[in-house]
Every structure is written in C-alpha cells, then in structure tokens.
C-alpha cells in the first residue's frame, strides 16, 4: 500500500467537497474491494473518503411498494434484516451468499454496485428487480446503470446514496459460486414484480445482463421447463480458468431453471 490521507466526513456535502478538492481521492465504503487493490499496489489514491459515518447513506426502509437500502448498508445487515426477509426474501438470500462472514460484515451495497465487478452478486438483484439507483444528483434505472466490466453510468465523483428495490410477487436467486473466491461464476436472479418478469444474469458477461427470451417464456408460463431449449450465446460470455464461455452459457440455463423453481415456478 502507498501512503494516503484518510478522511471521515459525516455529511454527504462534506464528502463531495473532499472528493472534488482532491483529484486522486476515492470513496471507501466497506473497503473489501478497494483495500485489497491498494495492498497489491494496483490503486494509488492520494485520499480516502470514508463514507461509513454519513447517516444519509445508511438504513433500510421498507414500505408497501419498495425496499430501500442505503449505500453504506453492509451485506450482513441485509441478510439478517427481518424486514427485508419479509418483503423480498430473495434479496436477503442473495446478500447471505456474498463472500464469507468477514466480507459480509464489511462490504456494502453501494460499494458493490459502484464497482460493478462482473462476478458480483448484487447487480443481479438490482437488474432482476428493476431497481432504481439513487445518487447524490439523480436517479438511475437499473437498465441504464450497468455499462460494462467495472463500468457503470456513474459520473466521476457521483455518490450512490441508496438503491430502491420494488417488492416482488415472487423472486429467487441461484448462484454457482467460484470454488476459490466464492464470487459468482454465474448467478441468475428471476423476479416477477408489478412491472413484469425479469431474468438477470451476473458472473457470465462483462456486467449484469437480462435474458429477454427467458423473460418472454416465463411470461407465458412461470415454470422451469418453460426455459428448456433457450440458450444464451457463449460467444458473448467470459472465460477464465474456472469456467469457459460455453460452460458459463450452460450454467446460465441451469441456474435460471433453479431460480424459477425456487421462486415457486
């Protein structure tokens, strides 16, 4: 790790000022992604602005329509929240599958979706539920948010404040973990909300993506066998030591069927 200055603002405004006044400043939330990168000397921020003390970024709010989770809320909190479990059990399940207990007790929703790791779990839920990302300057629809590998619609200095997940009639997440890192090799989130049926895939591509053919098929009949014969194109998918593109394409089908079954289809 290189030397850096550490700041701990208590308001969003203060955080913004700190970010703007230091060209190479970076937000740090749980630090579970950023700190390992810094330890390996792959990142060299001059300043770290820790957002863990900003009240506006915390808290879980559940109403009749939505579950809003603050950007600084840790995975463990989402996994264990009785309110979230009641409203969108698939979301608590997903949070409980992230990493290990240490990671879940530090890592946050905001950090996860700001980073947009292709193998991260939350993007599947954000896209699968058609959530809305609230930032310090606007609201972004999930469909417009994930742009590519480690690439999102966030502008430089833009801070994620919270994510608003619509309640689902039914939803489930099926994850095939990387045996080593336990990140998602493939994760599929299937949901039926007021806005219809959505199938979102993480792990397989550059960033989370939807599978329209599956959504249409499930719209006809919400059952696992509706997905038989639907294949995603391996040519577009990631390949690495753990899984080739064709294996990932196959797993998308398997995980999608499992998610549909788990969601009661």
């Amino acid at each position: 790790m290189y030397e850096f200055n550490y700041h701990r603002p208590t308001t969003l405004a203060e955080a913004k000022t700190l970010l703007e006044s230091n060209a190479d400043a970076k937000l740090v939330s749980g630090g579970m992604t950023l700190l390992p990168t810094m330890k390996l000397r792959l990142a060299r921020p001059t300043d770290l602005v820790d957002i863990g003390n900003i009240r506006d970024l915390g808290g879980i709010r559940v109403d009749a329509k939505n579950v809003e989770v603050g950007a600084a809320v840790r995975h463990a909190e989402v996994a264990s929240s009785a309110d979230v479990r009641k409203a969108i059990p698939a979301l608590s399940d997903l949070a409980g599958l992230i990493g290990d207990p240490q990671v879940r007790n530090r890592g946050t929703l905001g950090g996860s979706i700001a980073n947009s790791d292709p193998a991260a779990d939350y993007p599947a839920a954000v896209l699968g539920l058609g959530a809305t990302i609230r930032t310090d300057r606007r609201e972004i629809a999930a469909d417009d948010y994930f742009l590519g590998m480690f690439e999102t619609a966030l502008e430089p200095g833009e801070i994620v404040v919270a994510v608003r997940f619509p309640r689902a009639k039914r939803a489930a997440y099926a994850k095939f973990p990387n045996p080593a890192s336990r990140y998602a090799v493939v994760g599929v989130f299937v949901a039926e909300t007021g806005a219809g049926i959505r199938v979102a895939v993480t792990g397989a591509g550059a960033c989370a993506f939807r599978v329209p053919e599956m959504e249409t098929a499930l719209g006809r009949k919400f059952a696992a066998d509706s997905l038989d014969g639907i294949e995603v194109d391996a040519a577009e998918l990631n390949g690495d030591l753990h899984a080739s593109p064709e294996y990932r394409a196959h797993l998308v089908g398997v995980m999608a069927r499992r998610a549909v079954s788990a969601a009661g289809g």
């Binding site: 095939f176 080593a180 890192s181 030591l241 753990h242 080739s244 294996y247 398997v254």
Partner: protein
C-alpha cells in the same frame, strides 16, 4: 499404562499458547534496531538482465542499502546447495545448475530473487524497490512438462539439453518385458499429478543478526529443520562455522514440506545483517508465498499393468516425467525418484516392476517435497490403474486388490523396487474401511441419489508409504548427501522435572505433548513436569528435523534411547542409595525398588542425589542425570491403509460433493490417538483438495502464475469436507522398540485416489472412464458431455 503415557489422548500442551494468541512465530520477533528487507522478484518467467540500476532506490527515504546478486557474488557467497544427487541411467550425474541467492544475469521464473532493499520500515523498502530499474531482455519460457520436453523447447539451462535434469530408472526392465509378453491382459492409464502450492498458514519469514563483537550470527527462520539450515547455509552458502551460527526456528505455523528447504531469503538476511551491522527482517506476504515457496507434485505418467486372466498382477511398467521447476531445491531430485518409484509396488505382490523417470527444468517455482512427497504420486498412479483394471476385467475393486495384496505372513517382504516392508495387514484395513463405509449398503444409496437426479460413486484406495526417513546407509546409497538419523536429550533437572531436547521440530504435529508422553511412560514423571524444547541449535545438540513422518519413528526413538540411558544410570544411583546391586533395582511408576523388598527411592530423590550429591558414589559414577542419544533407524517404516470416499455428482453442473470419507490406517503403535486423528484429518483434507480443488496454473505463453492468490487457487474449505471417519488397525513396526510407523502424510496419500476413483465410479455408468485432477466442476461436466455425445 501411565496416567498420561503412551496411548492416552492427552490434550495438547502447546495449544494453550496457540489458541490464546500467545504463540511466538518468527514475525513476532523483533530485534533492536532492525531493518526490513524487501525482495524484488522477477516479473518475467525468463529473461536476461542487461543492467540493474539501484541508485534511485538507495536515495529513497528510509533506505539503508540495496543489494543485488553481484554484491553477493563479490562477497564469495555460494549457491544454495542441493541435498540429494540422482544419477542418470548410464550412471552419469544429474545436471545440477547453480542456484544463486539472488540472480546475476538471468531470471528463470516469475518470483526469482533480483534485488534486496533494506529500509527502516517495510513500506519504505517496498516503495524504494519500485525505483529499481531492471533492464530485462525477455526470453521464451516453458512452464509445463509437455512444452519443456518438446523438440524445439527453449532451454531453462544451457547446460541441460532438452531441459533434462536426469533420466533415471529403477527395476528390472527385462523381467518386466518378459512378463508383459506372457500376460493375458494389459491395462494402461495416463495420469497427470497436478502441481500444488502448499500454502502453510504462516508465510515464511527470516531475521538475520550479526554480533560484531563476538562474530556470532543468529538466524530466526520458519523452518522444519534448523540444524539442517545451519549446516547448509553455514557450510555451503555463507561459510560460517557452526559455533558462530545459531539458527532458531520458533513456533512455526505449518510446513507440509515447504519449510524444509534452505531458501535464499535465509542466506540473504544473514549475509546482509553483517554487511549493514543491523538485524535484518524479512516476512513474505501471501502473494509472495505463492511465487517463492516450493511447489509440490507436477508429474505426467503413463503406466501399464500386466495381468493374468485370474487377475494376478504380473508386472508394472511406468514412465513418468516430473517438473522440477527452474532450480533444484534441497531435496527436489529425490522426490520423483527414491520417494516415488520405490513405492510403486504399493500393497501388492507385483513380481516385476520397472519405472523410468525423466525430470525436467521449467520456468516455474522450484518444486520439492509436499506432504507425502512422491508417495502420493505413486499411490495415485497405482490406485487409479488398479481400479481401472478392476473395472475392465470385471473382477471388481475389492476382489482384485485382495487377490494381489502381500500376505500378512510373508513379511519381511522384498519389493522389486528396493524397499523391504517389515510388516502390515492390508486386508485388515480394507475390511475395516469397508465395514465403516457400509460398502454393502452402497447400491441402495446410489439408487436414492439417482432418484434425486444425482450420480453417486464410491472409491477405494489402499496405500503404503515409506516413512521414518531414513536408515542413513540406505539413504546414502540412494544419493542422499547426509545421513538421516535423529538426536534426543533427556535432561533430568535436580528436582526431578524433565527437559527434553529434540532435533525434531514441531510445526503443528504436537510433539510437545507426544514426546512428553514418552517421558511420562518411561520415568513416571507427571506430564506437567516435562517440557519439550525444539527448534534452536544453541540448545539442542543436533537434529535432522521433521519431514517424511519421521518425528516419532526416528526422533521419538532417539528419545527412547536416551531414556534407556537415564533409566540405567538412575538404577545405579538408586542401587547406591539403597545399598543394593543395580541389577536388583526395578524402575516402575516413578519408583526404584530393590526387587522383592519394600526398600525404594523415588525418581525425584535419585535426580536430587545426582546433582547435589552428599551421598553419591563419586568414585564410580559421574554426577548429573542427562543423556543424549543418536538414533539411526534400521529400515523405513511402512504405514499403510485403506481410504474410501463416497461422492455425489450433480450432472447438471458437474459439481462433486464428498459425502462420506473413511480412513482405516495402520500407523503401528499410537502414542496419542487424538493427535493422530488430527493428522489424518489435515492430510485427508489436503488429499481432497488435490482431487477436487487445488491446481497451480501457469499461462503457457507468458509464464505468469495465473493462480497467484486465494481468489484463483482453490484451497479446500470447511464446507467442502464431510465428517471424516477415522479408524486404525495396528501391526507393530518390527524394527523400533515403540512399534511406531508415522502418521503425518497418510491422509494426503490415500485420499486423492479414493476421491477420484469415486468420481470415476459415479460416472462409469454413463460411459466416463477417466477424469483429470483436480476434477473441477467444468471438467466433470465436459466429461459427462463428451460421453453423451
């Protein structure tokens, strides 16, 4: 049986300090005024170095010195020695390139030491290292066995044509050929034994210190064998006489073989400490461990088994190529030869065996002993082959093994590959394992899995290993450049407590408890009054250290010999105190009694008399009660056993889950059953890791290590392991008085073939007869898909 003597599951004496965080590991030690070393390593697999520019680094804040290989060479520092020579088939010696502590003009693997920065903080040293400019001229590299042995392969060493270190053979080729001609059937197999990265929990560390006034050096290091390090580094690398060099290996957090070797960093910090006149400390971080700790395994083999129609093994022919990495580590040449091919008889009476082993250099981290060292590779090959033969002949895995086991009444048994087994009962272990595994009920369980759409398989592996390394004359005849005896001292203190000094080193094995149990048993001293001291050349006379499951069978036996001497002398003292003849003294339960009388003295009284003699036969007996013994084993010991794994495969994803695992082992006499069970657990988990998860992968093009962190190198985790059923069946070792054989490596030897045999069994119903290790989900899925196509 003494209260905490042999056979009792005494809780580990050392655990209080470990589980309360009070262990004292090398990195916990800080010396006054110490500097921190950071080692700049090669980012390239193979390159010539045209120049190294260090001035900017030297000028960086906090930096005290920057050294390169040229500085060490100018000081006359020698290369890291190899402890074992292996000859080619024609008798010529192996190629043994020099192994500098830091390179001078060529790097040969990603991780090779290029320069060392000493600074006041670790961070400053690391920052400064980025300012070192190395002018590399990249060369083509080879990382795997196939590429290294290809016709136009780039050469790792100019002096090793074809990248061959040696081309060695054992056994009677002609007898094997003749047997193959007569055979009714030949079954053959190709197997890869995957390269592993040991990953001991504690990364390596070393602190060098030099006392200008006395000329004394001290090295604190994460070693399994401090005396060996003193010998090798003192004599071969730095030229420091033993009385001026103290090596301390304090608490060490796991070794598995990877902390046997004399590593460059040990010599660098010791040498640098004198150069700068301050202690120098180096601690690896985990990323560094991946590219600088010796790796394990890495074989490619073809094997053929000749059988009669009845299923009798007639002959075995094996051709193995082994990857040794870029340099020869301390024991590297012996692992794929004398620790591997000599084990190819396994538990079977195969009358003729011939094995050829060609070991090659590649642009990878040096490979050396890793839990089992050669023996897991042998047992994996053989047990896969035997299982295949059982399948293709239709004889079945149990019957075929039973047919060919060496009979319990034919010991001592001379194998066709050099070893003489002293004792064993392989069928007894097999029977026990079958019973615990409920083998008979397997079909029902297979059906139950099938109803859930899962493929269930069961796999057997029997194994044997040669432990208790080693009878020195045999080891010498096999190319070891040192004898491998062990040393123990029993120091009875004046008030009757005992300090044990042992040349064995405990880094997880629980010696502080097991060895104390030996003392309790022999002298009747309360276990709380026995302390075991190890890991310091200033305290312990000598020692060859701990590896090859040798601590109890060799180190323990040295202690037994010292205990015998203590007992003999105690009797003399008691005889004097009791005015009797020493032949009439009985030593039992901590008491020395004149036979047939009630006249006795306690062992404590004898100890006091030995040290503060008022009434002592000074004219015929020296005072004091401390004895040292050197013990050289008469033969290897031969632990053996049977492991059975039961797995379930999800055909949709290719994921294999180990559902049940049984280990029935013969370790000879067991001193502490709890510790033995723990050793088996750890070994089995590593064996499961090799079978299903662990795999070191280099990029074939760039030679970069792709599995350079825990994110990609998959260590087995707690949820990958089922409840392990561990049982023992004992035959006593015939050539040591304790009857012990050793238990440290067995788990890692038996588990891998048992698991893969189970995976193949699960898939055989759908036409799959082989899967590569590790049997990752994708590989299993591909195998299923190919069989279906």
């Amino acid at each position: 049986m003494a209260e905490n003597g042999i056979g009792v599951a005494v809780r580990r004496k050392e655990d209080r300090r470990f589980i309360t965080g009070a262990g004292r590991y090398t990195d916990d030690i800080n010396r006054p005024d110490q500097l921190y070393a950071y080692i700049l390593r090669s980012p390239l697999a193979h390159a010539r170095i045209n120049a190294i520019e260090t001035a900017a680094a030297l000028a960086a804040p906090g930096v005290v010195a920057v050294f390169t290989g040229a500085d060490m060479a100018a000081d006359g520092v020698g290369g890291l020695p190899c402890g074992w020579g292996v000859a080619n088939k024609d008798g010529s010696p192996m190629v043994e390139p020099t192994h500098p502590c830091m390179v001078v003009d060529r790097v040969r693997y990603v991780g090779d030491q290029v320069a060392t920065v000493l600074a006041r903080t670790r961070a400053a040293a690391k920052d400064a290292a980025e300012l070192i400019e190395v002018d590399y001229e990249e060369l083509p590299s080879v990382t795997d066995i196939h590429s290294a042995t290809a016709d136009d392969a780039p050469l790792v060493w100019d002096e090793a044509p074809g990248n061959v270190c040696y081309d060695w053979a054992i056994g009677d080729a002609r007898a094997v050929d003749a047997a193959f001609e007569k055979a009714d059937r030949v079954v053959s197999i190709d197997v890869v034994n995957n390269r592993l990265i040991p990953n001991a929990m504690e990364p390596r560390a070393a602190i060098g210190e030099y006392d200008e006034a006395t000329g004394d050096y001290t090295l604190y290091t994460t070693s399994q064998n401090p005396h060996v390090i003193r010998l090798l580094m003192g004599a071969y690398v730095l030229g420091i006489p033993e009385h001026k060099l103290r090596v301390v290996a304090p608490d060490v957090g796991g070794g598995f073989g990877s902390k046997i070797f004399h590593y460059a960093e040990e010599a660098i910090v010791t040498w640098a400490a004198k150069r700068v006149g301050r202690p120098v400390k180096w601690t690896a971080d985990r990323s560094e461990s991946f590219i600088s700790d010796a790796h394990g395994r890495d074989h490619v083999s073809h094997a053929e088994l000749a059988l009669s129609d009845e299923g009798d093994f007639l002959a075995l022919r094996v051709r193995t190529r082994a990857n040794l990495g870029a340099y020869l580590s301390t024991f590297a040449p012996s692992v794929p030869t004398y620790l591997y091919a000599t084990l190819l008889a396994g538990t079977y009476k195969t009358p003729a065996i011939y094995a050829e082993v060609k070991s090659v250099f590649t642009n990878t981290v040096p490979v050396d002993a890793y839990r089992g060292a050669g023996r897991p590779e042998a047992s994996y090959l053989l047990e896969r082959l035997v299982d295949k033969a059982a399948r293709v002949t239709g004889i079945g895995p149990i019957e075929l093994r039973r047919r060919n086991f060496i009979d319990p009444d034919s010991f001592p048994y001379q194998t066709p590959v050099a070893l003489e087994y002293d004792t064993g009962d392989y069928d007894a272990c097999l029977a026990k394992a079958l019973e615990i595994a409920d083998y008979a009920g397997f079909d029902r369980r297979r059906k139950e899995s099938a109803e859930r759409g899962k493929l269930r398989g069961i796999g057997i592996a029997t194994y044997i290993e040669a432990c208790g390394i080693a009878p020195s004359n045999v080891a010498g005849a096999l190319g070891a450049r040192a004898g491998l005896y062990e040393v123990g001292t029993i120091r009875v203190n004046p008030t009757g407590s005992v300090t044990v000094l042992t040349g064995s080193h405990s880094h997880g094995q629980g010696h502080e408890t097991t060895f104390a149990q030996l003392v309790t048993e022999a002298l009747g001293v309360d276990i709380d009054n026995v302390d075991v001291v190890h890991g310091d050349t200033a305290k312990i006379p000598f020692g060859m250290g701990t590896y090859g499951s040798r601590s109890l069978a060799v180190g323990g036996m040295a202690l037994m010999a010292a205990l015998d001497k203590v007992k003999a002398k105690s009797k003399k003292i008691a005889a004097h105190l009791l005015e009797a003849s020493d032949e009439d003294i009985e030593f039992k339960d901590g008491k020395l009694t004149v036979a047939g009388t009630d006249r006795s003295v306690s062992f404590g009284e004898v100890a006091l008399a030995a040290y503060v003699p008022h009434n002592y036969p000074l004219d015929i007996l020296e005072p004091g009660l401390e004895e040292t013994a050197f013990y050289d084993p008469k033969n290897f010991t031969f632990p053996a056993g049977c492991h059975i794994a039961e797995v379930e495969i999800d055909p949709d994803t290719g994921v294999t889950e180990v559902l049940n695992f049984v280990a029935a082992d013969d370790f000879g006499r067991i001193v502490n059953p709890m510790i033995v069970e723990g050793q088996v657990h750890g070994g089995v988990v590593q064996g499961i890791g090799q079978a299903l998860y662990e795999q070191c992968v280099y990029d074939p093009e760039s030679g970069q290590l792709l599995t350079g962190s825990m994110m990609d190198y998959c260590m087995p985790k707690a949820d990958n392991v089922p409840r392990l059923e561990v049982a023992t069946n004992t035959t006593l070792c015939t050539h040591n008085a304790l009857g012990v054989k050793g238990a440290g490596e067995a788990g890692a030897i038996g588990a891998t073939p048992a698991v893969i045999n189970a995976v193949v069994d699960a898939l055989s119903g759908i036409g799959v007869d082989d899967v590569p290790i590790p049997a990752t989900p994708e590989r299993v899925w591909q195998a299923i898909r190919q069989a279906a196509a």
